[in-house]
Amino acid sequence: MKKGFGMTLAMLLTAALALSACGSNNSGGNGGNNGGSNTPGNNESSSPDNSGGGSKVTLSFWTLFSGGDGDNMQKLIDEFNKSHPDIQVKNTKLEWGEYYTKLITAVGNGNGPDIGISHTSRLPDLINQGVVTELDDVAETAGVDWGTYNENLLSATAVDGKHYAVPIDTHPFIMYYNKKLLRDAGLLGDDGKPVLEQSADGFIAFLDTLKQKLPAKVTPFALSNSNDDPFRLWWSLYHQLGGNDVISDDLSSASLDADKGAKASEYIQNIYAKGYIKKNDPDFYKNFQSGTAAIMMTGVWATGTWEATKELEFGAMPIPKIFDQEATWGDSHTLILPVTKSEDPEKRKAAITFADWIAENGQVWAKAGHIPSKPSVFDKQEYKDMPYRGDYASVADTVKFSKPSTKNWSIRDNALFKYLNEVWASKMTPADAMVKMQDAIQKTLSE
């Protein structure tokens, strides 16, 4: 009896499964059929319904932007779709942390998007893995003029003279200051800019005055104690001293200039040791945002956030020229055309038209704080009307990009962050750290 019941139940379940499978099969089949009949319908421009006359190209676009960046990009896409009736761009927002892994695997099995985003520093890796395509031919067909782009940004995306990406911005490392606190310390000039002597001693003296004049709970210099932002400062100072990346020109060996690297890290270590930076600050963005820090350094993307913060009276400027020449860390967002199964020339032409249009309308993208990649945008009234951006637009020319190595991100994560963090915590001397970094860079390169 019991067995019989079990059997019946099992049969019922199986039947239910089989039925539901049939159901989904059917609907799947229908969907497929519909899709199949739709596509040719669209391509046949002879169809009387198609009042536009030409065929409509639909492009899939994968982005990694969230927050303000995400909104601005969506605005641009909507605007583009409205002004280009024959092209429709569909935005798929992906999580930034997983973006590259997803892009690489999707392109690898032929399901990649028509347009994607890449950071300039990540581009060589994508080229090496066969994820992105060359753009010169299609750019010529679509009439894209490479001369309208900032030379410094564009050349960082070209490998062996070939273009692989359309840079839409640069987001360098800059300095923000709290005007109210600087005024309290007597360090704000009549022009609303900091009174700061641009030299190694000058910057220390500036921080020291902030520390002396402001209440003890105010942090003179908001900066994290590990990873990205102090590394960016180190990268900037290392290049101000005349350093040139940490790998050789042929990208095969480690070539960290140990003297310059040590000098730059010693300078920063000293800033930490003297207590100008809050030790192990859990959230230095919040520190600056809540008006309890006099200056802070990070990428330009923070501008939009500070603007949206009530009662934060702030200013923005390039990283001071502490050493010999102006230089700062920076990266760019670029648009790429990933490898696709069909390599449809129509789609590619539409895609590069879109990319160029995004760069051309950099004033919208600049709302978050980025510097547009086309100098012509600087002259647009809309751009000029936005405060702060003009104060650091010149930095686009002094950004020091990484050399086009496929290992840029690996080197940064596994060789640079790690030892520099120890220097900031005064657990390692700058000279020792340089030796260890040199070894770790070499190890990463030869892996």
Binding site: A10, L17, T101, I104, T105, V107, G108, D125, Q129, G130, V131, N225, S226, K278, K279, N280, D281, P282, W409, S410, D413, N414, K418, Y419, N421, E422, A425, K427, E447
Partner: protein, 296 residues
């Protein structure tokens, strides 16, 4: 007779088939494929080139790998005994006849329902300097001078303590439930008899409760060693493996090698080394348990 048994087997197989197909496709096949990957340079996208035993040779000389395996071992040493002892203590508390019995049971178990991300972020906030719970609490009790801070997540050993404490708090509930149910299966008569013979609480615990828990203790210890050795996410979220990779467990290194450095072949090689270590550990455990079982 024989025929009907065969028929039953075929029928059973038929019902197992849907599961079996999925299991073979998504577990057994990738495992075999994984062995193949260890002999290749293999990126996220495709097989690059055959490199023979290079991955294994490289692994033997790679101090990072051995350091990471050692870190996982440290975590096992830190968490396994504490997890067992704490679970017994909590079970003893919750097993006592008391009005708060139900409260104890839910309070001790509730953290286990959190996801690893939630538990880890709570840990991150608890151990943060300046605003974190632990430091604020120490300031409040004046155990820590007002103008100084303990940087839990910047010193290697403090990080280990922080990560272990969070893991204990988060996962001890499961072991606790196992112990609690084991305790409730110990017959009351034995306790009564012991009491009549004049045994005190201490003697009852050592002579009766603990020996009766020994089978479940063996199981829990083994499961705990394996799961502690596989630690990844809470460390990844709380310390990121830092400072200076000194708390980076082997699974994190495998993840970074495979998905960040795009070197799946080498990551697969490391995975197999971990697999073998766990296999050996389980075998030793099994052997020890069985031998003791025979003598008892």
């Amino acid at each position: 007779m024989r025929l009907s048994k065969l028929r039953a087997d075929v029928l059973a197989l038929l019902f197992l088939l849907p599961f079996l197909i999925v299991y073979v496709l998504y577990t057994i096949w990738p495992m075999i494929k994984g062995v193949e990957m260890t002999f290749y340079k293999w990126t996220l996208i495709r097989k690059m080139s055959y490199i023979g035993l290079d991955n294994y040779k490289r692994l033997l000389q790679d101090s990072e790998v051995w350091a990471a395996i050692w870190h996982s071992t440290i975590f096992v040493i830190l968490t396994t005994p504490t997890m067992v002892v704490l679970a017994i203590v909590l079970a003893l508390i919750a097993n006592r006849k008391s009005r708060l019995q139900k409260l104890y049971r839910s309070v001790f178990f509730i953290p286990s329902v959190l996801s690893v991300a939630v538990a880890s972020f709570l840990g991150l906030f608890i151990f943060q300097p300046y605003m974190g719970f632990v430091n604020t609490f120490l300031h409040l009790l004046n155990l820590l001078p007002q103008d100084s801070e303990i940087f839990w997540l910047s010193e290697t050993w403090l990080s280990w303590i922080a990560v272990s404490v969070i893991t204990l708090w988060w996962t001890v509930g499961f072991n606790f439930i196992l112990y609690l149910s084991a305790m409730q299966e110990i017959p009351d008569e034995i306790y009564e008899a012991a009491r009549l013979d004049g045994a005190n609480d201490w003697q009852v615990f050592w002579r009766i409760t603990l020996p009766h828990l020994s089978p479940i203790t063996k199981t829990i210890t083994m499961l705990q060693i394996i799961s502690s050795f596989k630690v990844f996410l809470q460390i990844y979220i709380i310390t990121g493996g830092g400072p200076l990779d000194k708390t980076r467990p082997i699974i994190q290194l495998i993840y970074q090698t495979g998905f960040r450095k795009n070197d799946l072949g080498y990551a697969a090689t490391m995975s197999y080394v971990v697999f073998i270590i766990l296999l050996v550990l389980s075998a030793i455990q099994y052997w020890v348990n069985n031998r003791k079982g025979e003598h008892a």
